[in-house]
């Protein structure tokens, strides 16, 4: 028996998502990439299947799935469209997770809205250029970079440093926040935007987390999001491997399929080794959440291994496809771009190693 043992419900989720991704996303994935946007109908369908906000409890309209199922969903979606996988990762790993941790009564309203199929955004810019014009009521000006899912979100979570220290606020999208789309190497359809706030007033009761609770909860949230990112990485890496195997069997050079050449086989084998290593790490971390065990170290190792494996598989995928892989006629160049973007979306590989080491010696 392997380490990853999905129960029947999880297997069912896996089959459903796989089927959905192949039938509904695969045919339009190139269009999604070209337009750098996912059609709203896709989100509606995901919500109908209960996989847009799967970790939200049923009382708020969610599916109440466990963390393992969430990772399965993100992985399967990311195999076909990593940007979509990322949107689901953000919706659950950042938005729903921090709303569920908040003691503010308002968070229930927003969990219900997520359960209803709305998407939430999350600001991950730690050095954002915001000016606080007034403290009471709280009014802000300035720009925040890299708001995840910002293009699709009806509301977003934003941390702001006030005179009382850092706090997490919820803001509704309005004409006081102007969205611009930055060019990005990858994850171009994930709706990552810059938002400029123009005298935006944030009512007091829209503060979700503050004080010491803010710090501990944000750390937990980042961990949970890292786990979701690791599932995205797994999906990209797996997609790159599958495409490479198919191509290596079809493409003939020197009168034989290139999969017969040891150097090509080595690349395929190395991809597989890295994917399975990180898969065990990702699902080990996910199961730890479901069984309420210690997760801090497990998620950090999982996300480092998985996103680096995704970049490796993207690079080698393009290599196996050769000149064809360098063009937009095949998806491998997208896998490479998405993987590299993914790798720096959470903590960078440099930072992650620092954090892991700190945990080891603390």
């Amino acid at each position: 028996m392997g380490l990853i043992n999905l129960n029947n419900e999880q297997k069912m989720v896996q089959n459903e998502v796989k089927k959905f991704a192949l039938q509904e996303i695969e045919p339009i994935v190139q269009e999604i990439e070209k337009n750098a946007g996912i059609p709203e109908v896709i989100f509606r369908k995901l919500n109908e299947l209960g996989i847009l906000s799967p970790i939200i409890p049923q009382e708020y309209g969610g599916a109440g799935f466990d963390t393992t199922s969430l990772c399965i969903i993100i992985e399967e979606l990311s195999k076909i469209c990593a940007s979509l996988g990322l949107v689901v990762a953000v919706n659950n790993g950042l938005v729903a997770y921090s709303l569920m941790k908040s003691r503010n009564e308002k968070s229930k309203t927003y969990l219900k809205r997520l359960g209803n199929g709305e998407l939430g955004g999350f600001d991950i810019d730690f050095d954002k250029n915001l000016q606080i014009i007034s403290q009471n009521p709280l009014k802000i000006n300035g720009r925040s970079r890299f708001v995840l899912s910002g293009a699709y979100a009806k509301f977003l979570l934003l941390d702001i440093k006030t005179e009382n220290g850092w706090s997490l606020y919820l803001i509704e999208s309005s004409d006081k926040s102007k969205i611009t789309n930055p060019y990005l190497l990858g994850m171009r359809s994930a709706g990552i935007v810059d938002i400029t706030f123009d005298n935006l007033e944030i009512p007091d009761d829209f503060c979700l987390l503050d004080g010491t609770v803010y710090n501990t909860t944000m750390e937990e949230t980042r961990d949970y999001f890292n786990l979701c990112l690791s599932a995205v990485g797994l999906g990209i890496a797996q997609a790159a491997l599958e495409a490479s195997i198919k191509y290596a069997k079809e493409r003939r050079q020197f009168n034989r399929p290139i999969c017969e050449f040891p150097m090509v086989q080595e690349m395929l084998a190395e991809m597989k080794i890295r994917i399975e290593s990180s898969r065990n790490l990702v699902y080990d971390a996910a199961i730890r959440y479901d069984t309420k065990e210690e997760t801090r170290m497990a998620v950090k190792i999982a996300v480092t291994a998985s996103t680096e494996s995704a970049v490796y598989c993207g690079i080698k995928g393009v290599q196996i496809f050769g000149g064809y892989g360098y063009t937009k006629d095949y998806p491998v160049e997208r896998y490479l771009r998405d993987a590299k973007a993914l790798e720096v979306l959470g903590d960078s590989p440099i930072k992650l190693r620092e954090i892991i080491a700190r945990e080891l010696i603390s």
């Binding site: 990005l184 190497l185 009168n255 360098y326 063009t327 960078s348």
Partner: protein, 373 residues
Amino acid sequence: MILSQRHKEFREKIRAFADNEVAPRAKEIDKKSEFPWDLIKRMAELKLLGLYVPEEYGGAGLDVLSYAIAVEEIGRVCGSTGIFLAAHSSLGVFPIYYAGTEEQKKKWLIPLAKGEKIGSFGLTEPNAGSDAAGTQTRYKLVGDKYIINGTKRFITSGHVADVIIFTATKDPTLGYKGISAFVVEKGTPGFTPGREEDKLGLRGSITSELIFEDCAIPQENLLGKEGDGFKIFMETLDGGRISIGALALGIAQGALDASIKFVKENNLHKEQSIQSRIAEMSTEIEAARLLVYHAAQLKDAGLPYVKESAMAKYYASTIGMKATSLAIDIHGLFGITDEYPVERFLRDEKLMEIGEGTSEIQKIVIARQLLGK
């Protein structure tokens, strides 16, 4: 390696051109997939388009080392302009310089080396990539003309080239012995550039199909003798590898330069984790530089350089991918935006592991030199 005063001065000159004229255009060239006509004109004025060609044939009369330095310096700021220079010089100019008759040199080499005409090299085909000898483009002597049929793919500057050297076979069952090399000029009836590739990187460089449909070519357009095609293209690629190695090196250096600038601007220079990566990148880049320059010097000295040029390309592109990827890590989230050049460097660098012989082919070339066939 200690460069001679002459080479140092040459590097300074090219670096000034790259920094002052190429760098300000690089982002736009990539964004708009714009073929850099203006920069090509400037490179012609600076005599960069026939660097190692003797002056009597319109070149600058310098050496291969100078050429490698020029590709490196331009690649440091713009991969698209760098690949144009490398493809024109190594693939367009070289075969005629190497195998052309006096008459062919006068007709094509002089305008190519002067930069009045753009050169290109049609070797790769839809089904003949790494297996370049598996060419399916056919030629047949009919009367006093060669009739060509077939399709080439992934041809750098294919769409814009005035003079294209290409390979074709008399009979695919003859293998490499059946291959000959020819010159076709733009506008020859039966010869049309096909579709252009939409690429991951090097987006300012044109990569296109070349389509031959009963294209009639005069006999005097044959390079060397019939059956010399394999030898000509192998020799061409051996030399071309030095320039791709130089380009890979230049792009990696660009990624390092950008990282150093970012680290200093953001006050990260005292962080050991950053120092460690900067040190790693620069050490590998320096090692790649030694390999590239060494291969160039061997070629200049008329010594065997096949193994060394393959090593230079293989190593420089491998560490180049690592360097450009690390550069993005150092920049963090900003590394994947277009506010910094590093994501462009990563996209551009990936071709260096593929074009003019993949890394896998380079390893085979190296191993054969060591182990025999």
